[in-house]
């Protein structure tokens, strides 16, 4: 008598389907931009973290500890609301005319994820025998060039499995962007729920999309490491 009526049609066609679809699009945009930026930033921080110059070392250390050990939600609020008090009014007014909530979410996700990526890359680098660095340096490569040409290409290959984890985490973490009104997938799923009370259907759709995205990425990276990084099949 008081049963819940499943109505899968609402999320497979029509207005609510379009909402979910637009949510998927925003989640993808957020993820792709943040994955690219956080990888670059992570590499940079990892190299700084292994530097011999003290101030650079301290800075990167502080960066890692700070951003790894504070909640992402707080960081998102910090970049979105907290920046208002620090920035000059002219900048604030300009930001407010832009899509600032998206930018703030990208900044927060990038910085947060880059700290984890930096640590993963550093552990990859540490697993490369130090003789390689010594050999590179004695062949006349500078520190940065040895890193760039000799060490990092090997380290990044080793780091790929943990990096996938970070990227998968990033995709799922991007759902927190809804707290500042970025209309990504979870935001739209919740919106569908509050319009129709069809929460099970809406969140099942969102779950399947997240699951699908993660599986596709895992699969692509597996292919990449199997055929591109290691075409001879050497283990």
């Amino acid at each position: 008598m008081f049963s819940y009526h499943f109505d899968w049609a609402i999320i497979t066609s029509g207005q609510y389907f379009e909402w979910i679809l637009s949510g998927v699009k925003v989640t993808l945009q957020l993820s792709v931009v943040s994955v690219a930026l956080s990888f670059i930033l992570g590499l940079l921080i990892a190299v700084m973290r292994m530097s011999n110059v003290k101030p650079i070392l301290w800075f990167s250390h502080a960066y890692l500890e700070f951003f790894r050990n504070t909640p992402l939600l707080v960081q998102i609020f910090f970049w979105y609301f907290g920046s208002y008090k620090i920035l000059p009014m002219v900048v604030n007014d300009w930001l407010n005319t832009m899509n600032f909530e998206f930018a703030a979410a990208v900044i927060a996700l990038t910085i947060y994820t880059s700290a984890f990526i930096a640590e993963d890359i550093r552990s990859g680098v540490r697993s490369i025998p130090k003789e390689q660095m010594e050999a590179a340096r004695s062949s006349g490569f500078s520190y940065l060039r040895s890193m760039y040409y000799i060490i990092l290409p090997q380290a990044v290959r080793l780091t790929i499995p943990p990096l996938i984890n970070q990227f998968l985490n990033l995709i799922k973490n991007s759902s927190l962007a809804m707290t500042i009104g970025v209309a990504e997938l979870t935001y739209q799923a919740r919106q569908v729920e509050s319009y129709t009370f069809k929460g099970f259907e809406a969140f099942t759709a969102a779950t399947l999309v997240y699951l699908g995205l993660s599986l596709i990425i895992t699969w692509l990276v597996t292919l990449y490491s199997k055929y591109i990084l290691n075409p001879m099949g050497v283990r």
Binding site: M1, Y4, Y80, N92, N96, T179, G181, S194
Partner: protein, 278 residues
């Protein structure tokens, strides 16, 4: 892929559990148990919130629950719900009556049954003073609101070119207005009145006299629970006739009310149906 299939089935199963059918006559059950379980908000000032002195949930919604329970001759048990959980809690049988600032609408009426309208408000805006004279002034602007409500839907309809940005709650939405990130915030006047009432710099803001929707609040009950619905409706009409309903309104929202002032206008609990209910 097989494993994914199993995972999917497991998910469906869990989802299915949430909707387990529950037959019976809730009114009779309530009388037999001697307890009416009410789902109320616990952080919505005026309607359902925790009183600092007694540490109990009090408010307009709570008083209606108490009045209905009294009429049944049973005790009342209050359970906190949120906008997101109120319908699932009701359907799962964890609460018998949802009294939680819930707007009646056609989509929701497919899931649950509503009582007569027991509170009437409308959707308005808070803006910086003097920036908005008419609805058209809001076109093309960014407008903030909170999720889990019907406010976004109404705003989209009334202002097709505006961008609606939903926050987790009204506090960040108002913060966004203060920082100029949104041009206005919109939701039911009953909620806006409280935001403005508690804002530290309230003189800078106003609620222009622009109403974009009617928001009739109804008490929620499980679908097909006719005996309970009839009982609640009869009680509501009686409360209006005796003046109890108006007294409860004034207790919270009157000029000297405990919460914040709202104008009751011509509202009366009269059992008039909404256009989509007919």
């Amino acid at each position: 892929m097989k494993r994914i299939g199993i995972l999917f089935l497991a998910m469906m199963f869990v989802a299915g559990l949430g909707g387990v059918a529950q037959a019976g006559d809730t009114l009779a059950d309530i009388k037999a148990k001697g307890v009416l379980v009410c789902g109320v908000k616990d952080s919505t000032p005026g309607f359902g919130y925790i009183d600092e002195a007694t540490r109990e949930i009090v408010g307009y919604d709570v008083d209606f629950c108490r009045a209905i329970a009294k009429k049944m001759g049973v005790k009342v048990e209050l359970k906190s719900v949120t906008s997101a959980t109120r319908i699932p809690q009701l359907i799962a049988g964890n609460v018998d009556l949802a009294a939680c600032t819930m707007t009646k609408n056609a989509d929701r009426a497919k899931q649950i049954d509503f009582s007569y309208t027991y509170f009437f408000t409308g959707q308005k805006f808070i803006t910086k003073k003097g920036t908005v004279k008419k609805l058209a002034d809001l076109e093309g602007k960014k407008i903030g609101t909170a999720k889990g409500s019907t406010s976004e839907q109404n705003a989209k309809k009334a202002l097709p070119t505006a961008t609606i940005q939903s926050f987790d709650d009204y506090a960040p939405a108002f913060l966004a207005l203060q920082q100029g990130k949104v041009f206005a915030i919109t939701t039911d006047e009953s909620i806006l009145a409280n935001i403005l009432y508690t804002a530290p710099d309230k003189t800078k803001y106003e609620i222009p006299n622009i109403q974009i929707s009617n928001e009739p609040y109804g008490l929620g009950m499980r679908k097909g629970d006719t005996n309970l619905v009839n009982f609640v409706n009869t009680t509501l009409l009686e409360m209006e006739k005796k003046g109890d309903a108006k007294n409860i309104f004034n207790k919270w929202f009157g000029p000297k009310g405990k919460a914040f002032p709202i104008n009751r206008g011509n509202f009366k609990i009269d059992g008039k149906k909404e256009s989509w209910e007919k």
